[in-house]
Every structure is written in C-alpha cells, then in structure tokens.
Symmetry: C2
Amino acid sequence: MPQPRLSFLSMSYYDDLFTVLRFASISTDPAHRGDVRANANWLVNKLRSLNLSVELHETPGHPIVIARNQHIAERRTVMIYGHYDVQPVDEPELKPGEERDPNKHWMTRPFEPTVDANGILFARGSTDNKGQHMAHLRGIEETLAAHGELPVNLIFLLEGEEEIGSPNLKPFLEAHRDELKCDLVAISDTGMVAPGVGTFTYGLRGIACLEARLQGPERDLHSGIFGGAVMNPNTAIARLAATLHHADGKVAIEGFYDDVKDLEPWEREAWKGLGDGDAETLQLTGSTTLWGEPGWSSIEQRWGRPTAEINGIGGGWQGAGSKTVIPREAMMKLSFRLVPDMQPDKILQLAAAHLKKHCPLGVKLDIELGHTGMAYVMDPHSPFGLAAQRALKTAFGDAHPIALIREGGSIPIVQAFKDVLGVETLLLGLALPDCQAHAPNENFPLANYEAGVKLNQALLRELS
Amino acid sequence: MPQPRLSFLSMSYYDDLFTVLRFASISTDPAHRGDVRANANWLVNKLRSLNLSVELHETPGHPIVIARNQHIAERRTVMIYGHYDVQPVDEPELKPGEERDPNKHWMTRPFEPTVDANGILFARGSTDNKGQHMAHLRGIEETLAAHGELPVNLIFLLEGEEEIGSPNLKPFLEAHRDELKCDLVAISDTGMVAPGVGTFTYGLRGIACLEARLQGPERDLHSGIFGGAVMNPNTAIARLAATLHHADGKVAIEGFYDDVKDLEPWEREAWKGLGDGDAETLQLTGSTTLWGEPGWSSIEQRWGRPTAEINGIGGGWQGAGSKTVIPREAMMKLSFRLVPDMQPDKILQLAAAHLKKHCPLGVKLDIELGHTGMAYVMDPHSPFGLAAQRALKTAFGDAHPIALIREGGSIPIVQAFKDVLGVETLLLGLALPDCQAHAPNENFPLANYEAGVKLNQALLRELS
C-alpha cells in the first residue's frame, strides 16, 4: 500500500474506516449476504463500545443498525442516516495480453482499501457511503471522548439496502414511528461541486426502475438454419429500446413530462456560476459530445430534468469469438430519474404502456416493476438549512461560498423521512465529482474524511 | 444413463462416438484448447488403428487430421470432410428455486453422451458434427473389416475450426493442393427434411460476420449523477441495431440486395411440397409469429434469401437486481447470411458504411470484421449429384423420394474446395430439424448414425 501523507493524523484515525471497507457488503448479490451481515455486526459492536445504546433490527432483507445516546426531553433530536451496503464491482474480463484500464478495471482490489501518494483512498464504498458515514461515526466518537456527551439527542441509523432501493426502511420507519421521532435528519451521501467547496444539496431526483424481457423462439436457434424467418429477440429489444427517446434526446414516452415542475429562474441563474458547466460534464464523463433533452444545460439536465436510461441490455452470445445464434430471449433494465412533481408509479405505468405499444411482433414482453422513490426539494433558506450551511463553513473554511445545488441521484428514503416522520433532511455531501461512485476505482480523499469528522461535530453544535 | 433400444446392435457399435462426444472441443474458447487437441489426438490414434496413413497437421489454430488408404492411380479419389470442434454450451444461470427448462438449459451434461428411451443421443456435437463424421468413420471401418480395402482412394479430412469459420483450412488446402487432389468432396453436416427422408442439399448460404463496439464515456458512470446529459452506449447500440431492418423485416443496409440472384421457379415449386412450410417453421422454433423479408415463404427466407441477424447484444448491468449505471461501452455481434451472387467482403463493407452512417452522436464506433464464406449452389442433376441420390436411397430406403433442398447454414469450406481444389461437394446430411445444433440439448438419433454408416458404404461404392 502506498504511504499516505497524513498531516498530523496517525493511521489509527482511519482504522475503523479501513475495517468496514474490507466487508464486501454488496446488497444486490445474494452471494454476499454474509458480508453484509458481518458489516452490520461490526457496526453494532463498534457503536456499543462508545457506550451508545445499540439495536440490530432484522428485516426481510439486510438488517438496520440504530445507535442512540441518552435522550433528554428538552434537547433537539437529530437523526443521522447512512448505509453500509455497496454497489457490485463488476468489470470486463481481461482479454489475453490486455492491460488493466483504470476507466473500466479496478487498479486496486476493491475490498482492500488502498491510499495513494495524494491521500486518496480507493475502495468500493469509500465514497458511497462508508467514507461519509464513518466520518460521522468518528465525529461522534471524538465529541464523546472530549465531552462525555453529545449536544443533541442522537439517532444514528445505518441501513444495508440503499443500493437496492431501501425496500424495508420505510416499513421500518412506519413500524417504529414513535421511537424514531426527531426534529430533522442529516445525511452525507451526496457530492461537493469541487474540492474544498462546502456544498448543501437541497434537492434530489427520484427514481423508478423496471426490467423488460422479450421472449421470441422457445429455445436458442441456429441463425443459419432459421435466420430470416422469425423475430430475433436481440433485434426486438434494440427496436424497442430505440423508441424510448426521440432523436433529439427527449424522452418519447407519452405523458412523461406532464407533471414536471420546471426549474425556478433563481436556480438556473445560481447553477450557471458553478464549475465549468458543459465543459465540466464532458471532462468528468470523458464523453466526446453531450446528448440530452434540448433547451437545458448539462447541469440542468443532470439535476433538474427527468431521464430514461438503459442501465443494462443483453441477449445472445457476448463472449469471445462468434456464436451464430438467435437467442430465445433478450432483456433490458431501465431506470427513470424523476423531478418534482412526477409520480414514480405513474411513470412506471406510462413506461409499461409505451413498451407494450411499441413491442415488436413475434416476441412476448414481460415487465417486472422495480423500486421507486419520489424526487425531493427542500427550502435551503429555512432555519435548519441555514444551520447546515454554518456547519459546512466550519468544516471547510471561508475560502469559498457554500454552493446550493440539487443532485441527479436519488435517495428515496429522504421522501420516506418526510412522509413518515414529517421531517426535512439536510444533505451535507462529502463526495467529489470524480469519486467514481458505482464505478471501478471508487475513491474518497482522506481530507474529505477529516472534513466530515469536523462537520459532524459542528453540525450537532449548530443544531443543539 | 437411460437404456437405448438398440435393435440388433451392441453398445460397442457406439463406443467410439461416445468417446469423442466426451471431448469438450469448443474451438472458440481458449480455455478448451486442450480438449480440442485431445480430440484430434484420439482421431489420429483411431484412424491409425485401421491401418490408414494418418497425419496431424499443425495450424496457427487447431490441428487438421488427415487419413488416407493406399492410393491407386486408376481409382476415383473421394475426400470426406468433417469437423471435430463444437459450439459453446452457455445457458442462463438458474435463479434460486427455478427449475431447468429444456428450451434454455441442458437437461443432461453436454459432454456426457446420454441416450433416451427413444434411442435419441444427447450431447454437444452429437449432430454437429461428431455423430455425422463418426458414422463415416464407422462405415469405413466396416468396409475395411469386410473387404480389407475401400472401393475408392480416400482422403478423410477432419478439422477443428469449423465453428469459428475455418480460418486455417483454405490456406492449408492451398499449401497442399497437390496431395489433396481429388474428384469430389462429400460432407455430412447438413439436415434432413424429416425422419427417414434422404435429403440432398445442393445449396448453402454464405456468411459474413462483424462485431461493433460503441464507447461513450471514458468509464462507467452513475446514471443518477450523469444521466440525461450524455449518450448512454446502451441507448446508442439499440438505436444503431434498430437501423438494420425496415419495419417490414427487409434488411435496410443500402445495396444489400444488389447482387442477390433470385430463386429459380422450379426451386420455389419443389420446396412447396416439403414439410408443412410456415407452420413447420413456427413449430420448430416455437415462435408465435413469423417475421422476415416480405414476399417469400419462411422456407425461402431460410434457404434462399439473405439476412442480417444480431447474434449478441450487450452493455451495462445484466446480473441480478439493479445497478444504476451508464456503461462506458456496449457491443453487438452481427452475422449476415448470403445467397448467390453476394460477395461477403462487399457486404461487410456495406454494413460497416451503414453502421458508420447511422452511429449516434456521442459514442465512438469500432468495427471488427469477422469470418466470411461464399454461398454455394451445385447442380443436383449432375452425375455426382445423381450418384449421391442413389446412395441416399440405399441408406434410407424407397419409402420417400429424395428431397432436393438448399440450407440456410453456411459451410464456407465448400466454396474453398471449389476454389482451391476445383471440385464440387456432395452434402448428404444426417441431422433432423429438431436436433438443436448450436442450442442446449443438441441431439442425434442413433438410427441416423446407423443410416450414416450405410450411407458411407453405399456412397463409396456408387462413386467408385
């Protein structure tokens, strides 16, 4: 492991973070169920060692861990939320003689945290979300070590199913509504616009997922013997997928934009000053050309406009060499990103109707609806919003004004906190734009971990 | 293993066939290189045991095995060709609780030959091509056992690269043109129109393959953070693939049909009487609806018209659950089936030009050209054609007239035999329409093996 430059801090400052990064807590993959559980158990033991009151709650999926300090009636109650599950780590197999490419392959072992000479920590989950919630945990630990108590009533809630849409969290909140009563929620699971720029996220896109499968012939066919006479499911899935967008980038599903609330003029104005706009999107993605809904900048497309994306498409032979087959089936996985006031279930119904209407002849369409989450927008100028911005100033200093942004990702449970507990959520992200969440070489600067530790302490003070 | 009903024959009659079916000689997969080699070595030893003169010829890929009897100047020289390599055996992973489905899963182990109560042999390669060339080998063995010699000069050529387009066979023929001089070639690697109906195939479609890869962003992106602003390679591959056909099923590549020689009226008339036509294609494929070039029956579409098929398409997350990713790349594998007088290289150029012209913005297109083979048609009423039909009568009896057909598959080396050795090829297939070549549960009736053994002996007599 390269030696990090750790300023005044000793390695032990990071020990717990490195420990949790070694758990391959991939929630979507049944083969990693035990790793998810081991991560949860570790959190229970760690939080108990801080003399917090800790519960591990079973769910039909992965467990929820909750830690509390002693609750005092007159104090404000703050819930801090994080998730200890991570995305899968798939990468293409190396062809004979091919070298690893950092754009598509992991250059370090994804579950062996590795720090480079610039103090950047590489590991799956380093930014999404272990690095961020472990900074809060460390902040709590430091406050308790210094003062023996916290300035607020704390509910520290860590779930293991965020990457699969938190199917069991909302029912859990509903079942434990009274014990989870709080004044607000704080989450660090979002991004900063640039290094050192404290960033307050007041909006998120929602999400709605579905999978479409097409079955053509009853079995795989030889494409020489039968080719030309039957619909090939690969052709059908392509023809169907191609109907999702107009040529100009606009989503072609009928009614898709009906409930979209356009961005406010002040938002469009404020976002113009952030970063390098379209050039930054090109630089961050490495794409050669932008492509999206016409009439909006790429920042607006990413934060304030809805999308239809094909996360996966597949059918037939994708391995080495050729196989002259007409496969029996082909599939695609879609996710839609939503903005206020779109309703996820309505969007899934519109999408399903679109797919049925445009499904080619000669294949049978099966649609499986997936997880959903509402878009979320809060007022950044509310008292809690202003407190959050002061805490960000303390953590990141005065060199830059705090950026007020929305984000394109989805944290469906933010809507659940609002619906079930009736509270707003402060999104105080610590991730940088190139942290590669969900991609190979996910990373997190140790400096951001340090800032997160400070942020936690300032935030609890500001909210007390 | 279920007990077969073997009429008068003992199991030892099949021992050699079962032995070669146990070699997982998958030529396209580098991991199976050793199995391909082991199959070749077994053939060398077996053929030597018959007192034939045997050579194993190395190539840049898999070896070619050649066996000859003693050549006598005044006799006719017949080459019998077969291939000992097989297709891959991929099948979808079983989901938890899912039962194996014979339409997509192997119900027996693909490299453990298994015979059911109806005398049907199941194994990868049983029909394509081990069952067929091993019947010839057995026929040769029986003739030698009975008469001590064969009625013709024999060149028995077995290659290990047919399933990857025989890249090294044509150069081999060219390098050994003189030693391989013969009067004609006979191949059993085609189909019969129905059980018991001797079938003479006088035409084959050609083939031309290519793979297209699209790269969008430099790395996988989070579809929440970046979705809506860049071209998703999955969307791009779908949009590009969807341009390959018009809505009515006709191939949309400009110039694709320019060199197509239409079917002769006598062929269209003769094929009308074979099988159940469109109903049979529906039954064999299990498709619900036919889809193809308008104006032609499904038999004509399969045997006498060109196609563009997507053998594989893929990009992004195709595993369990969801992954909200915009992948850096997506791909498709195409194969075109060709008829006289289409030129494979010209078709690949036209296809590449089409893909370039229709490639969406925001992705980089890479095209890798694959293997090609010309279509082939011979005169079934020539003297060799008539001799072949007499041999088929001997093997299959007089209950049905011999069917004169073309086939949709491709045997590119038939064209190579014509080009390099200047000879015609007799295609005397032993496969039934439901033998599942290239698919799970590939099978071959033991009765067809028996017929093949007789066919070999009758054919060498008829040609002597």
